[in-house]
Amino acid sequence: MAKYLGIDVGSTTVKAAVTDGENLIYSSYVRHYSRVKETVLSELENIKSRFPGEYSVAVTGSAGLGLSQRSGLAFVQEVQAAFIAIRKYYPSADVAVELGGEDAKIIFITGGTEQRMNGSCAGGTGAFIDQMATLLNISVEEMDEYALRAEKVYPIASRCGVFAKSDIQPLLNQGASKADISASIFRAVVDQTVSGLAQGRKIGGQVLFLGGPLYFLKALRKAFKETLSLTDEQAVFPDNAPCFMAIGAALYARNVRAENIDSVIEKISKAKGNDEIITGKPLFKDKAEYSGFVKRHRATDLNYADIATYTGDCYIGIDSGSTTTKLIAITPDCRIIWAHYQSNNGQPLDIVVKKLKEFFALSGGRIKVAGCAVTGYGEDLIKSAVKADFGIVETVAHFKAALHFNPKVDFIIDIGGQDIKCFKIKNGAIDSIMLNEACSSGCGSFIQTFARAMGMEINKFAEKGLYAKHPVELGSRCTVFMNSAVKQAQKEGAGIDDISAGLSSSIVKNAIYKVIRASSADDLGENIVVQGGTFLNDAVLRAFELETGKNVIRPGIAGLMGAFGAALYAKENMRGKSGMSGAEELENFTYKSQTAVCRGCTSNCNVNIIRFGDGSKYISGNKCERGAGLPPASGKLDIYAYKQTRLTECVTGVRGKNGRVGLPLQLVMYEQLPIWAGFFESLGFEVVLSEKSSRNLYFKGQHTVASDTVCYPAKLIHGHIESLLDAGVDFIFMPCESYNLDEHTSVNHYNCPVVAYYPELLKANNGRLNSQNFLMPYLDLNRRANTVKKLHALLKKYRFTKRSIARALDEGFDRLKKYRDDVRGKADEILFEAEAAGKQVIVLAGRPYHLDNEINHGINKLLTSLGLAVISEDSIFEKGEPVKVNVLNQWTYHARLYRAADFVCSRKNVNLVQLVSFGCGIDAITTDEVRAILERNGKLYTQIKIDEINNLGVVRIRLRSMLAAIEESAEK
């Protein structure tokens, strides 16, 4: 009798299952390392040797699709396959959750069958876990063990690997324990599954957990059980979970005609690669071209001095980067005595101390440290630990270093492990800075992760790309996308060499077109210096030269430029004796790290306290300076702090005889709270505001978020709604408004689609909302009579007269006017005082809802702690002239941005920083326009993209770089 064979070809593994119709007689699970065809064939040979004969075969899995098409074998979609198997083996299951290498799926079985898969932009899968393990420099199994010993869980963005990385990196740098981080990663995966996939449907009843990661990782299982509050009976972890889809495929194969296993093997071995993949030009024609290239670049290497014999002064530069630590010691005439570059393995401090000790040992007392400067992510920590003389901003360090190699340099690009930095240089100063945003990383660490996934060291992997004949075209988006493009190319049969070369040019394109956003290579400049560890990779360097059509300078110490620049800085700025810890002090150096919650204000930051052996301590993780033991940043010159208080004061909180109305303080309500508070209070309602935004509030509403790519403010409001429902208000009020208030300076006065109609989405996706407890009238507030009519009808059951409605609305608009007057007045005051005190003022420009501390992550506090005064776009835009811009100026909030930019241009001590929510499509249009207005008037443009990630490290670097540039241009 024929047997049934199911083959599940996933993104990382091949699973096979054989049944005789009733019982499973064979199953296997092997990683394929992208050699899909070979792995499947060797599995088939295995099966053949044990059970030769006739088989009905079905293929499933994300990589199985292509294979089945080319071999002519039957295919069954993998969720479908799982479903078939569930119905046979677990008929009582209510929900099945399956995590695979690249996919995450949920199947709702009872109460309306539904099968869901993650969208194309959703991490939280096996590949994500692998990537995180690589980042922690441990195996996935170790990560699992660590996680089980965790004491606390940090919030980590789980939407995609890039985001999570930027959350984890600072934690690592701050010395958070691997156990806690590991547990946080698993928790992030669970959150992603719940929010990204369940989207409003509760995961409950008997839940089946499938797929490799959920089978092998106990901590992940635990996280799921805990988050979903499942009992042992409810959470089912089948023994054959990894091969479950394969078993499903085998069951499906009953419908397939049987054939001899030899013919199956033949079909697969004959399957051809697909010619659909797009390839580019090779990096090098031949070896000769390559050696010419190597020779050209070798010319820019620095000279060395021998540490074993050198006697005299030296300057030490330390660059504590996000993934690597770099140290260098140079002589006063810029020869390198000693240098070190290594992955920091999450322990940057240990490495710095260890390496400095080695340096002192080697120097044998002949070399005196005359100065030391630290730069990079870990600047503060390392500076306090080794008592360095200076801490400088990365951008300044890199510029210093590049100048040394080419005094005429006008463009610097640095691709490091975690970030891309580009600066344009004009008149000997940094003119503009571009850093990669969270979503366009795709940097060095990506190649590294990838090389490891292929079981190869990065150098080997890169080398392979040099002579690739047909580099694969992989696109230029964020890593997650590249990841699946790579997978696709592999499935189509591209070799490792072609992929390696393709990755190199992807990274380059990403940098040029995504980060710099140059429309052509000529935009970059004439004298380009490239640096950063990633450029040590010849394939990347070559791809860059090919893409730009220019020969560039890559210093031999490309990976050490930050450290070199820091050393140069120390050399130029050192006065007197260096205070850096000497050999003896380092010998006795110890530290202890400990986590705590700062109670300095209501932000409740998770802080990390590092106590050094000598009793001094270093605190990190706090948003302001208060946690660090310094006096708190003054809110006096901060309009954000003022507005936060003033806005909530619009609600008097008096009890009303007509009941309690809930107003969610998010999106449109950040602008219109005064109106609606005034309106409802004057009608005799008690106004209840939603809970203050926080990460926890977000989690509370996460299960009702319908679209995982919408902006964070929109996602947050789901939590606000939950909090109001819990507060037991009579109804929640949130209007739908296509049109915002007309401020008469734009062609039209729309709201963005999300602000305009989000109540519709809330109502459709939160089962607790209905037409009684959620009122969402369609209003145009510019039309008073119409609005009164609508509101009158809306509140019919309270029997208000039209007149009282009209009066209430007037009261609302009065409160709005007062609020705005006060805000404007405060802005005048700040401008005046800043001027008097000789302070720089920043217009922190965004949308009204960027006032929310959970959304702006306290960037206003960061600015004031850097000694700046802060005002907002809505407090001063009326001071700017109405403007005509190149784009259709048709949104109220955005029209304010243009005018605010115009105002900034008229003031010497005022600059603008634009806050942009990730996923805000409209800002793709406004940012370029605001930039154009500022740059035309010789002002610096700075943009900060924000979303749920809470990593102020990058923001701090950007702001400090901006300040450095402002200061330099002021000096001129």
């Binding site: 994300s62 366009s440 739908c736």
Partner: protein
């Protein structure tokens, strides 16, 4: 009030240039532009609908447009620039043309984004706006009433051809017969524009239906899949990786809603602005008349379909609106707004529960009108089977197709179940 002008100058279009300039149009609505291209030519405009669709198109788009801008914009700009760079056209004698709605979504800004994108390399090329909202007065196409009517009729014929083709192609007995029928239909449609008689829409529509009905079809059941979503990725093969072709290859019948629905949706939105907020009452009065007229024509076409009997008729827009009201308020009017749930619901009520909701990655209105309404629709219609697919320059085809396949697997399953249920009862 003084205004600060930050605009950069750009070449304007005036109608006298039609004698000298070739006008390039992106391949947005393949079914309708095939007819419109000819109609424009008859009016003396040397129009060419671009067909370039290589990877270079997307690459040029990525280079020239802010990457967070939506995918359709990227495709349109990419297609233009790739064409201009091909050397086939003299930049001194070429213009680009694009539609503009003036709604609250980003799409209204395509015009300026195209100008920005070509500014550096092709500063002399004017960009023409086609719009009916009075935007871009100094660089839009001057459309006289008669010309406007011709365009309107082109939409009607394009719809009928598309609608009949999609119901014939999956079932044709002789391969290629449907395409031959399409060719025939195109011929006599164009003939009517050339010789007059294009306004005899009943006669022409009847002929189109009959032409396709004459194609021999196999008597088999196929799964019908409705395609809804953002207008560009809904219709354009460049935007949706040839979704219609993919569905055909999977043995399905793609059901693509008529473009007239979108036109009526825009008209209704203007009427609603008056109804909801009291905006533009006079204008709304005219729109109401237009709506009644067009809807009456649609009804006549539906009658033709019913009389012939070979195909399911297009949706009655009034019915579509009523379906939509069950799901989403008609106040949601940005982008494709309430039209999306209305189309899905209308499909559900006419035996097409399987839906691909196509949208550009991060499309703002579709957060609400696309993904946001799926739950409501599933509650309303038990068999509803929707997959939302994001289109994006880097989203891989495999990823998209795998998700569509999941939807199809569910569809097949549901079909099997319904059949069983029928047998049981």
């Amino acid at each position: 009030m003084e205004e600060r002008d930050y605009r950069e100058s750009f070449p304007k279009w005036d109608d006298s240039m039609k004698k000298t300039h070739k006008i390039l149009v992106p391949d947005m609505l393949p079914w309708h532009f095939a007819i419109l291209e000819q109609v424009f030519r008859l009016e003396g405009y040397d129009v060419e609908v671009l067909k370039n669709d290589s990877r270079r198109v997307v690459d040029e788009g990525l280079k020239h447009v802010h990457n967070d801008t939506c995918y359709p914009c990227l495709c349109v700009v990419g297609q233009f620039i790739d064409a201009l760079k091909s050397g086939k056209y003299d930049p001194g004698k070429t213009a680009l043309m694009m539609t503009q709605t003036g709604g609250g979504c980003r799409a209204s800004n395509y015009m300026s984004l195209i100008r920005k994108a070509i500014k550096r390399e092709f500063p002399q090329v004017p960009v023409i706006s086609i719009n009916f909202s009075g935007l871009e007065k100094d660089s839009s196409l001057q459309i006289k009433p008669k010309f406007f009517l011709k365009m309107a009729f082109s939409v009607l014929y394009g719809d009928t051809v598309m609608w009949c083709y999609n119901q014939t192609k999956p079932y044709e007995e002789e391969e290629g017969a449907t395409d031959i029928a399409r060719g025939k239909a195109m011929e006599f449609i164009m003939d009517s524009f050339k010789r007059g008689g294009y306004s005899h829409y009943k006669k022409l529509n009847k002929r189109i239906i009959e032409t396709f009905a004459a194609v021999k079809r196999k008597d088999i059941k196929k799964i019908k899949v409705g395609i809804v979503g953002e207008i560009y990725v809904k219709y354009s093969g460049l935007g949706n990786n040839n979704l219609e072709r993919f569905l055909l290859s999977e043995g399905c019948e793609p059901v693509v809603p008529a473009l007239l629905d979108f036109a009526l949706y825009c008209i209704v939105n203007n009427i609603n602005d008056a109804k909801f907020y009291g905006i533009g009452k006079k204008r709304a009065f005219i729109y109401k008349i237009v709506y009644k007229l067009v809807h009456h024509m649609q009804n006549n076409i539906i009658k033709l379909f019913k009389k012939n009997g070979a195909f399911l008729p297009v949706h009655d827009f009034e019915h579509l609106r009523r379906c939509g009201d069950k799901v989403l308020n008609q106040g949601v009017k940005m982008g494709e707004g309430w039209l999306i749930p209305a189309e899905i619901a209308a499909f559900a009520e006419t035996g097409v529960p399987n839906i691909v909701c196509a949208q550009p990655f991060g499309c703002l209105p579709n957060h609400i009108a696309g993904k946001g309404v799926i739950r409501t629709l599933k509650n309303l219609y038990a068999d509803e089977n929707i997959v939302a697919v994001d289109y994006d320059p880097s989203a891989t085809k495999v990823n998209q197709e795998n998700r569509i396949k999941l939807m199809l697997a569910t569809a097949r399953e549901n079909n099997g179940q319904t059949e069983k249920n029928v047998k049981a009862s």
